[in-house]
């Protein structure tokens, strides 16, 4: 199982702050992106950053471990 988190403007457009995605062996982060972006296109327009287990991910071919926490995030605006 993959725990998917959304925050701020992305969560608002999706209408929730978390969901669970089924885990598949050798699943890559871009596979999950593609599935969710197709389901929530308006929210994913805003996504600028992706994190796995709290670490920024730039290589979208990264394989997702089971029980990962994945966050899709809009541009930050703290401070």
């Amino acid at each position: 199982m993959i725990n998917v988190l959304f925050f701020g403007p992305v969560a608002e457009r999706i209408g929730k702050s978390a969901l669970s995605a089924d885990y598949r062996p050798n699943m890559r982060i871009h596979d999950l992106n593609d599935e969710l972006a197709a389901q929530y296109p308006q929210a994913f327009e805003l996504v600028c950053f992706t994190a796995i287990n709290g670490e920024h991910i730039r290589d979208m071919s990264t394989i997702l471990p089971d029980n990962s926490e994945v966050a899709y995030m809009a541009k930050f605006s703290g401070g």
């Binding site: 925050f7 670490e55 809009a74 703290g78 401070g79």
Partner: protein, 141 residues
Amino acid sequence: MNDHVRIQLEDFSQDEEISALKSTSKSMGGIGTFLGCARDFSEGREVSQLSFDAYGSMALSEMNKLRREAIAKFGLLDARIVHRIGTVKSGDNIVFIAAGAEHRLAALEACRWMIDELKQRVPIWKKEITPQGDLWVTQHP
């Protein structure tokens, strides 16, 4: 209050943060600080309050990394970062950064560097609450 880096709902005291910073070293000759506050306007609109959302665990981890990097990069003696989340009324405090060094230049430059990096790297999002509706902020002026 003892933690050098915090995310919290409640307000903070600049005096207490500076005292805590000073207490770490008597070699501190300069302290640079930045206080971010909630404005009552944005792009011509009245703003009554701000609402902050954060990816708490990652934000705290990034802020701790930021502090460690600033200490190494500028040779600081110590640094502190506090950011509020939840609802903040216009005029209230949002973020406080303090950098302590032997001399003023490192303290001031480190403080500027930390707030600029925080805005780019730390997963916190700000929403402006206005009479015309709510709006998530996506820019870094």
